[in-house]
């Protein structure tokens, strides 16, 4: 695994958590960050939840036309997708960029939260050595103390009550390790083992047949067939061994789990858009972009990836 620099800062890279208690503090912390970036000619991405997006629109007025805005309640439901959005924004501009990224809000579920912490930790790795400035607001009143403690581990800088300082608890690798936990399984799961590429057609038939029974819509089935194929192909290509694919229903989602004996060496795999000319390496990126949630557990002897899909994805909105 790649390790991160002591402060998560490269040449000009700044990654700060902003602990706010109310809307005035939110605006007081975020708006100057945005305006300062615009003054310096730095493109700004604002990727925050719906309510705070509206708050910033009201506060900034016409200035919003100069910003790229993304509602993370829509495009960032899957935390493993957010880095792709932020990275694509940075890659689309030559110089330093600014990002307001708020991946964690009070409505996040327990299933989603580990992925959010992993995202925050990986921001340091993804932007290291760039001139990017990333500000991550945290609702200090509504979020639990553990969440704020995690934010101190994933951000080299923390701002609150109008001042900013280094985080003594900054340890993103430890945060990644803490949330790299075995994933829950279901005794009701049905499974199919893909041993060679020739099994992929049968895998898709299996996935469609069982997911239909689990309540996935026709659009959802088409998405699942892509996802199952990409996960199995990834396993076959990178481990040389088999991929076990399991399906079950979990609350409002259909879960598709792929497990193999490979070691996921790159924690950023699938989280950033692949290079323009690359033919391979896009499978996990697509899975992250299409899923409602992607959870991963990686060990030296095996990798498990769980993909959560809503029964009817017709409501999805792409970035």
């Amino acid at each position: 695994m790649q390790t991160m620099s002591a402060h998560g800062e490269g040449a000009g890279f700044v990654h700060s958590a902003l602990f706010y208690r109310d809307q005035p503090e939110y605006l007081h912390g975020v708006v100057p960050f945005i305006l300062d970036g615009l003054r310096k000619g730095e493109p700004v991405l604002v990727a925050v939840p719906t309510d705070n997006l509206a708050l910033l629109r009201d506060a900034l007025g016409d200035v919003t036309a100069e910003l790229t805005m993304a509602d993370l309640c829509v495009v960032g439901r899957n935390p493993a997708r957010i880095l792709g959005i932020e990275s694509a924004f940075a890659a689309g501009h030559a110089g330093p960029v600014r990002v307001v990224g708020e991946p964690i809000w009070p409505g996040r579920t327990a299933d989603e939260y580990p992925g959010c912490v992993q995202h925050e930790a990986l921001v340091n790795l993804a932007f290291e050595g760039t001139g990017a400035s990333v500000l991550c607001p945290y609702d200090a009143c509504q979020l639990a103390g553990d969440v704020l403690a995690d934010a101190r581990m994933t951000h080299p800088l923390v701002a609150q009550s109008g001042s900013r300082g280094s985080s003594a608890d900054y340890a993103p690798d430890d945060a990644l390790a803490r949330y790299n936990q075995p994933l829950p399984h279901s005794p009701e799961a049905v499974a199919y083992v893909t041993n060679t590429h020739a099994d992929l057609r049968a895998l898709r038939s299996f996935a469609a047949r069982h997911a239909q029974w689990l309540g996935l819509s026709p659009d959802g089935l088409a998405d699942l067939q892509i996802i199952a194929t990409e996960l199995a192909t990834n396993s076959l290509d990178h481990t040389g061994g088999a991929c076990r694919l399991a399906l079950w229903r979990h609350d409002a989602h259909v879960v598709c789990e792929a497990s193999d004996s490979g070691r996921l060496g790159d924690p950023l795999a699938g989280r950033r858009p692949p290079a323009g000319d690359a033919v391979t390496g896009r499978g996990l990126f697509l899975v992250n972009a299409m899923a409602d949630l992607v959870r991963t557990h990686a060990t030296p002897t095996g990798t498990t990836i769980q993909v959560y899909l809503r029964p009817d994805p017709a409501l999805e909105v792409t970035a």
Binding site: D223, E230, P273, G283, L286
Partner: protein, 285 residues
């Protein structure tokens, strides 16, 4: 109108001008299919050509052994394959696709002029598909002849002996609108109103076959944009979409996939492809 296509269990009972790619391991099983295809053609008053690697006498003996055919042997043109196609000089058996197809078209038109309702060939073609060079030339022939078959009254059962060709037979059977189960999981064939149609399932299992087919046929497609009828494409993974995009970009052209499948549109958008786009199928196109 959409051209009929499909994976079929036998050569019997197809549409009048069905172009069928048939890989076989059992010669007797092939002869059963050939007999059904010929008998259907005779019933429709098609001119029939029977072509194979064997001598003329051996081929005639095969026909004579077919119960439904033996009474009408003198109505069937029997030709050894070395006489049937035109070959590139000094190539050691590489077909001249352009001239061979021109001969097909001329023969079909002559058949119509002579009072037949069509021209139908049964060609056992493994002898001209053993090497990669031969298969590249046969790819050209199959691709171009299928374009003609989509609009002219002729058809063919193209048989490939997989005992001789192995999995390479799929390089040619995939170029037919009709095949048998297990021949190739995808098919690329002519569709009037578009450059070609793509159907079936395309994933990593046939990545190399798809790349070879695309490489060999691309130069034969003059359209820009290259219009692909993908409405019956059941599955395509991102690698092949990227391969199509790269192919078009390298040639400064664009590929348009015509389909109403939401997932294909979504994939193309997520991949950020620049030379491949998706267009919905409407009554107008």
């Amino acid at each position: 109108m959409t051209r009929p296509q499909g994976v079929v269990p036998s050569a019997a009972g197809l549409i009048p001008f069905a172009h069928l790619g048939w890989g076989y391991t059992d010669r007797a099983e092939f002869l059963v299919q050939a007999a059904a295809y010929i008998a259907d053609g005779l019933k429709r008053n098609h001119f029939i050509a029977y072509v194979g690697e064997q001598s003329r006498d051996e081929l005639q003996a095969e026909l004579a052994a077919m119960p439904a055919i033996r009474e009408r042997l003198d109505e069937i043109q029997v030709t050894p394959i070395e006489e049937h196609y035109v070959y590139l000089p000094g190539s050691g058996g590489v077909v001249d696709a352009e001239r061979s197809v021109a001969n097909y078209v001329a023969a079909a038109r002559q058949a119509i002029a002579n009072g037949y309702t069509g021209f139908r060939a049964v060609v056992d073609a493994a002898a001209v598909a053993r090497t990669p060079e031969q298969r590249a030339a046969m790819t050209s022939l199959e691709y171009v002849v299928d374009q003609k078959m989509a609009v002219e009254p002729f058809s063919a059962l193209c048989a490939y002996d997989t005992r001789q060709l192995g999995s390479a037979a799929a390089e040619l059977t995939c170029l037919h609108p009709f095949t048998r189960e297990g021949a190739s999981s995808f098919r690329l064939y002519a569709q009037p109103g578009t450059t070609f149609a793509l159907t079936g399932e395309i994933d990593a299992a046939i990545d190399a076959l798809f790349a070879t087919t695309l490489h060999r046929t691309w130069a034969l497609m003059q359209d820009d944009p290259v219009m692909v009828d993908a409405q019956d494409l059941q599955f395509i993974s991102h690698r092949q979409l990227v391969a199509l995009d790269h192919c078009a970009r390298a040639d400064h052209r664009t590929i348009v996939l015509r389909t109403n499948q939401r997932v294909v549109t979504r994939l193309v958008g997520l991949l950020g492809l620049t030379h491949l786009r998706v267009e919905p199928v409407t009554d107008q196109n």
